[in-house]
């Protein structure tokens, strides 16, 4: 099959176990530790990495992030940048790395993102329209935005609270198969989720990710380099991206998001239909995000996500199209911006056939999504098994 995306592959992955709190850890230490793990996994030494993509570091390093990270890591990359797409940053790094390699600017790119959770969280220094026109009315934080999206979706399609809650229950069930997950050993069913307190109606506490400390990294290189590594190469077959707005009030559509065109582009580049994808690694900051992504992917008609999930046999590794086998962020925890990269890392494990205890049978392809801000920053990737 001929794929239209840049011909590159993920040859290495790294993931730190998420923690609820850290004490005095600095972000750079977490990033270096997870990067070392990814390089070891790829079977390469640090001097073989000549590209560096990093995430924003609010409060710690507001500017010059790539140079600060490169210096700390002892790297001298020929291509570097910050990818600032919220929860879509991780997937956004992967296709940018491939594009930089295709442009001949570097050969092997480290994509790394993570954060601590020290007691003193810096407050946002924002002075932008979302700060000026939302916050003064009592609407700060992502919970309010996704509650507004969920209310609109419920109103338009008449879906019931338990339909959304089953997504959180499915994520918790998957987390029982992942010892790294923050909710490993902590099951919650639909009744538990609906019994948890309302945070911002109609969102219950357990429909919202738990913030954790953590870090994720991947190594992107040529298909040829990856084929020489110790693991099966996981190729980038397609990518798509779309940004529509920042503040939820400016959203062009409250019940469908920019992932719709992003996923369509990624699948078209890969030459696959969504029904052909073996593993769905769907960004899940809230239950509503998964519901809309299932619908925007074209797996079912708008408003039918719950019926589709039922027919799919749930979300587990033996479902027809398994979803978020690592537990999703609802089960694994959300290591801030690295949460989006966790969906990439799990897809790589599944395609390699290395998802111990939760392997999707005969998994050769994955559709990975990242989502940022108020369902407004979207990146989709199609990953496929190398020859």
């Amino acid at each position: 099959m001929k794929h239209l995306g840049p011909r590159c592959a993920i040859s290495g992955i790294g993931e730190l176990k998420p923690y609820r709190r850290t004490e005095g850890v600095n972000t750079m230490d977490l990033l270096l530790r997870v990067s070392s793990e990814a390089a070891t996994d790829a079977g390469i030494s640090p001097d073989q990495i000549d590209g560096l993509l990093v995430g924003p570091q609010v409060g710690e390093t507001p500017q010059h992030v790539p140079a600060t990270v490169a210096e700390y890591f002892g790297m001298r990359p020929t291509m570097s940048n910050v990818v600032d797409l919220g929860g879509a940053s991780g997937p956004g790094m992967v296709w940018r790395a491939a594009a930089a390699i295709a442009a001949g600017q570097c050969e092997t790119v480290l994509c790394v993102i993570g954060n601590h959770r020290n007691p003193e969280a810096p407050r946002s220094p924002n002075r932008n329209p979302a700060r000026e026109f939302d916050t003064p009315f009592g609407a700060s934080g992502a919970n309010t935005s996704y509650a507004l999206l969920m209310q609109a979706h419920m109103d338009r399609f008449g879906c019931a609270p338990e339909e959304y809650a089953q997504i959180a229950a499915g994520a918790r069930a998957n987390a029982q198969l992942n010892p790294m997950a923050i909710f490993h050993g902590n099951l919650a069913d639909v009744d538990d989720i609906l019994a948890s307190p309302i945070i911002a109606s109609p969102l219950h506490l357990l429909e919202i990710v738990m913030p954790v400390a953590g870090a994720e990294a991947v190594i992107v290189t040529s298909v040829e380099n990856a084929a020489r590594g110790p693991h099966r190469a996981v190729e980038l077959w397609g990518a798509g991206e779309k940004i529509t707005h920042r503040a939820v009030s400016q959203s062009p559509d409250l019940t469908s998001g920019p992932l719709k065109p992003a996923m369509a582009r990624a699948l078209a580049q890969a030459g696959l239909s969504v029904q052909e994808v073996d593993f769905l690694s769907f960004y899940d900051c809230y239950t509503i995000m998964v519901a809309i992504t299932i619908e925007d992917a074209g797996l079912c008609a708008p408003g039918q996500f719950s019926k589709w999930l039922h027919g799919n046999g749930g979300m587990g590794p033996n479902a027809r199209q398994p979803i978020n086998t690592h537990g999703g962020q609802l089960g694994f925890g959300q290591p801030d911006l690295a949460g989006g990269m966790a969906h990439v890392v799990e897809a790589v494990r599944q395609i390699r056939g290395e998802a111990e205890g939760r392997q999707v049978p005969n998994c050769k392809t994955s559709l990975v999504t990242g989502n940022g801000a108020t369902m407004s920053e979207a990146v989709a990737l199609v990953l496929g098994a190398g020859a």
Partner: protein
Amino acid sequence: MTTQSDFNLSELKVPGPTRNALTEQFWTAAAQGKLLIQQCGSCSKAVFYPRAICPHCWQDALSWREASGHGRLKSFSEIWKPGHPGWLPVSPYLVGLVELEEGPTMLSHILAENNAVKIRDALVFAPTDVGGRVLPLFKKS
């Protein structure tokens, strides 16, 4: 009664708007009981929030006009756990997306008895003191 009956919004200690030279006129007018939006003289579209040039056609042709103050509720949430702790004394309270009659949508704080609202409810501009500043809130009409 409203759910805020025990605690006046004016007593809140919460962050206000981060006004700048361009938006000053909007907030000043709101405090005087007038809701201003912008309209483009080139493409005729209405614009909210305030900008220096039109985001639809990129022409430098925006001017202020008084909005009717009527709108419809596109979505809402009853906030039980506010993102900013200063809002706790009045929680649960309503925030909503208000589609103005002129076209643009703005987020606002919604006043309704017992927080009882539905999507598509008609709303009307209700300038209200929040933390010592009169802000453009909306209430059920």
